[in-house]
Symmetry: C2
Subunit: 675 residues, 2 copies
């Protein structure tokens, strides 16, 4: 039996429906003078309707609607058009839904800059041209090499995997494309052939090959490589069959299924539209095509704890001696994280009995696409007590309860990697945001010097060292929006013993601080940080202590890219374990769709959020939390990285928010004594 | 269907049976001249058979037996006798079992010192005398105060909870005893009355009260307190009824049970005697009355990965302004961790369908005691994939498998706290040792100045700030006993780009080191530590990389007690996140039964293990891992601390140990493609 009732006000955070996508698409196409195309093969020189996604309501308007019976905020969409014809990108807000009447250019407002077209990602339209280019300008001229080295034409083919950023300075659109055997898990089948393609021009006929790498040697043109290859001026790679070590096909027949979980008395949670109710919890959810999974208006026992908790960015920096990966710095939200939330597999990705939800997206497509079962929601028995005590002194009794919690999950497969995103809601009022990595590592062909950058993981294959940094936005509202940022820690103090004052001892004391400005509260990875971090209210609990939620970060992050590097500002959020900012509607995300492809001049530089060093006392605060891990690939990453040990996240825990542990009220509690 | 077969050689690690305890007890009692008593009320001046526990075989002998068909090591027991008559403690090895013929005094061999009787813990015999003392010498003389202040005699009574260490220097046995309301969860019901009892003498008639604390004020005798109380010279505590906020009784009726796990096709593991088989895993297990849960001869795919993984010590240092807790430093293995492994509750402590195992112990008892269902073993579906990849570029396919793992668990309720101990065995060849804390916090009566030492958590109750430090012994044997200790990390190096040599970029490189001596490999908490720590072999995998297991420590530890403090050497293992020593049979544990009660002259000082700074290259290595967390109690610790977020441990992960992820062979793997 559910405790609460669904409330359709959650719909202010709902993703656009298929109908809404179509309404907006039609509205955009009606503006004939814009000459917008929706064809997936639209060329870079043309105008392409790239993205339609929900435009979030302003927080004040949403709160007025949710809390004070204010009017419902107008429902709007963000629309991104790549204007090849004028070499600019324009971001519009289109509304009101369901029958749009206006489009407003918000580019300048959102990014304080115009967006030149070079900041766009590579669309499917551009990829088609790139593949065509490789076919015509490279492969067709290197038939002998490709056949002898890689078996191309003898039943084998090569797939491309490209590295980012595309060059070394603003204006560059020069992509090192590495080639891989067309086998399952191609990412761990590099062949030793990489090509630097200059595709700066909107006109594909002006594209060119600037460099090639074959078996560790560089060539400045296809012709040069061909000539040297034919003349014996290069050490040849000789094709042979490779074992299918990237295959995920079971090698054993199922013998006996493992333990399964079931709801003996039915589900204890309910999903309606985009709202979930679970015991004391309720929240709204959505999936941004760019940043991914997010929840809003998270409440426990009716009280809002968080306005928004969302994935912001997944970033990786690689090391390599070969060009394909020597500069690689992936910023996934610039490709789209939520975009790659595909169907979840019952019994593997989530338990069989989970509730699965479809999502709809419009990104680099001609029509909105349905992603079946791309979110799962389930209650899970964690196989341990949430709390318990066994008493055998003075009293004999046992009290405790099992730890059953609600898991809200998507998994995004962005090329080689699969990130599993979990928000977990515990009966003790804690809430966790976690990510785990699995899928294939990125790899490169083993050449001289490779082993300084990782370990060999298969024949001629280097698993390249890299970092994983994940950014979460945590907009807690603790007993209202006016909050402060507190830290707590311990310190040994030499104190005199009260009953023998001549004797001293080092005794731990509590050290509490309240940080005052954004820059003070930007906690760098490489500094000693107080152990307890709290978003707190001036409101106090029954014992006079300030209501707070503590942020406990789980992270094994590697080193962040030095700030000396031009690329660093596009990922400046990763400088900090935790950074606290004053909430602004215009500081919606810590990264952007445009950060990857003009990484030297990022459309969003998180460090600017704190440059004005605003006061964070009694303000609406947002915590930006970074977790991650250093990944030194090893043989056991083949075929796939395992989730165990490869993750991070943040646990949000009530700390003097309640007067006692709220799980005392759980119906799951068990108690017995000898009576 | 099980893959392997049980092997009774695991019995060399088995705990003593009830019959064996009795055989040893009888053997000891036969030695009339020792005048040993087994009565639980044996007084401190008499000789008491305190402990019988398994004496582990020497490692070389055990390995010869397990691996090379050597003779079975003689089965022996450790026996501890408290000789009140001669003021010494003697530790014997008694054997051979089942029919003992010898007892050998091993005290000097094991501790390099004699053990004066002051190092003994307080036995039930001594507690009886203490309670009697309080009744006769304190309570009976303070009837009015106790009735008016605490309702004693009006249906209320007080319970004692004592603090350790017992004094400030070697020779002291002066215990501050704090009194608590006799309610469930007494530990969070302090009344504001504490008494310093001097019980140094083996003769209880010479015991005395040295100080008393009542409502924040000190008195040097019971008479003085009584006089001042009667004269109005003290601010009185006035008794009133207290709400039962420590109760674990459910406040709600069960409504609908949460998710349950079941074995649809039966258990995939088997427990026989003290051996567990689970898919590719096998191990032997045992429970030391002192140190707790442990496993031996841990193998994956027949190969031994660890010789021993065991709990060593659980330590806490408290802060307070009141004497009861101002000096408190608990060393649980000196009381006995395994000793308090009580019955596990089905459906709360472990899943209903777990396999439950009984243990037998002999510690401070007249006869061996059976602890029913005190270990549980179960396979758990972790509710997430162990690995997965969804492919939609070039190929469409899905491969993955659910993460089902075996959990081996005990929970020890040592007074107020319950520690949940888990060893988890994953199908990817990883093995995890974890601990979580739950149960009641320790608390003290709120007086002036208290709030520097924690937060108020109930009326007049301070939850005192404290640390949790847990030490694990991790004796990995990676491809044999000869191992080295390696570290790996990343470092940004400025390198010239091979295809444009005038351009430089900071690129992450792999930094590997092999540490050479014990002191180099003693990694302090307050220093920067390489991110990857490995126990490695000189043997290499298919790709030429050294076989290794990586230790990934999960810890939120507070500050360790400064080394300036005399008590620190008794817990010197806690200086280090990880310390590597050369294995020695005589360095079996990092702490001892005798560390708590003569903390200033510890029988085992871990730092001495590394004082000789031996070489750790190509030696049998042991890793001593410390995890923990700083605990600043808050209202939600009432009634019980929750497990979520309150734990730590170490994950042991294969790293180039295999040629690929061993879970590729799991029958749980799932794959499909469009065909
Ligand atoms: Ca700001
Ligand atoms: Ca906020
Ligand atoms: Ca040594
Ligand atoms: Ca070893
Ligand atoms: Cu990785
Ligand atoms: Cu604690």
């Amino acid at each position: 039996p559910l405790r609460g009732q669904h409330d359709e006000r959650s719909l202010v955070f709902a993703d656009l429906t298929r109908e809404e996508y179509l309404q907006i698409q039609q509205f955009m196409l009606k503006e004939k003078k814009l000459q917008i195309s929706t064809r997936q093969t639209t060329e870079p020189s043309q105008n392409f309707l790239f993205l339609i996604d929900l435009s979030l309501p302003k927080k004040a308007a949403a709160l007025a609607y949710l809390d004070r019976n204010g009017t419902k905020p107008v429902r709007e969409a963000t629309v991104v058009v790549f204007y090849g014809s004028s070499s600019t990108i324009v971001e519009y807000v289109v509304g009101p839904l369901p029958n749009p009447t206006y489009m407003r250019d918000v580019t300048k407002e959102r990014y304080q800059m115009h967006l030149p077209i070079r900041k766009r990602l590579v669309t499917i339209g551009e990829y088609s041209l790139m593949f065509k280019f490789f076919e015509e300008k490279v492969f067709s001229r290197l038939k002998k090499l490709l056949e002898e080295s890689f078996g191309v034409g003898r039943g084998q083919s090569l797939n491309a995997f490209e590295q980012m950023p595309r060059g070394v300075q603003s204006g560059d659109r020069k992509t090192w494309v590495s080639f891989f055997r067309d086998m399952s898990g191609m990412y761990i089948h590099p062949v030793g052939f990489e090509v630097l393609l200059n595709h700066e021009s909107a006109n594909a006929s002006q594209w060119s090959v600037e460099q090639l790498l074959y078996n560790g040697k560089y060539f400045s043109s296809v012709e040069e490589l061909k000539r040297e290859y034919d003349n014996g001026g290069v050490k040849k790679i000789v094709y042979k069959n490779f074992p299918d070590y990237g295959s995920l096909k079971p090698r054993t027949k199922p013998l006996q299924v493992g333990p399964q979980q079931f709801y003996a008395e039915g589900k204890r949670f309910s999903v309606q539209d985009n709202q979930v109710l679970y015991l004391d919890w309720s929240f709204a959810f959505g999936m941004s095509s760019l940043t991914g999974m997010r929840v809003f208006d998270v409440r426990f026992q009716q009280e809002r704890i968080a306005y928004e908790i969302s994935v912001q960015e997944a970033m990786s920096v690689y090391g390599s001696v070969t060009p394909g990966m020597i500069l690689t710095k992936f910023l996934d939200s610039s490709i789209g994280i939520g975009r790659f939330a595909h169907e979840l597999v019952r019994g593997v990705d989530c338990p069989y009995e989970a509730t699965y939800v479809d999502t709809y997206r419009y990104i680099d497509v001609p029509v909105p696409v349905r992603f079946r079962n791309s979110i799962c929601i389930f209650e899970h028995n964690m196989g341990q007590p949430l709390r318990r005590h066994f008493s055998d002194f003075f009293h004999n009794s046992f009290g405790g309860m099992a730890n059953s919690a609600l898991v809200f999950r998507t998994i995004t497969a962005i090329g080689n990697y699969d990130y599993m995103w979990d928000f977990i809601f515990y009966q003790s009022g804690s809430l966790e945001a976690k990510v785990h990595a699995t899928g294939y590592i990125s790899s490169s062909y083993l050449v001289d010097g490779s082993l300084r950058y990782g370990h060999q993981v298969a024949e001629n294959v280097l698993g390249n060292i890299h970092t994983h940094f994940i950014n979460f936005k945590v907009d807690l509202d603790v007993s209202g929006v006016k909050n402060v940022f507190q830290t707590k820690d311990m310190e040994y103090v030499n104190v005199s013993l009260p009953w023998m004052p001549n004797r001293y001892a080092m005794v731990p004391q509590l050290v509490e601080k309240q940080l005052q400005t954004e820059q003070e509260a930007a906690l760098r990875h490489d500094t000693k940080t107080p152990r307890y971090l709290h978003i707190a209210s001036k409101k106090t609990n029954r014992w006079g202590h300030q209501h707070s939620y503590r942020l406990q970060v789980y992270s094994f992050a590697g080193d962040h890219l030095p700030e000396s590097q031009a690329e660093e500002r596009a990922m400046s959020w990763a400088r900090y374990k935790v950074a606290i900012t004053k909430h602004k509607d215009l500081e919606q995300t810590s990264s952007s769709l445009y950060n990857q492809n003009d990484i030297w001049s990022p459309a969003v530089d998180f460090s600017k959020f704190i440059e004005d060093n605003e006061s964070i006392e009694d303000e609406d605060l947002v915590a930006w939390v970074t977790a991650g891990f250093l990944h030194i690939p090893h043989a056991e990453d083949i075929p796939n990285t395992v989730t165990v040990g490869n993750g991070g996240g943040v646990l949000l825990r009530p700390h003097n928010y309640f007067d006692e542990d709220p799980s005392v009220n759980s119906a799951d509690a068990v108690y017995f004594d000898p009576g």
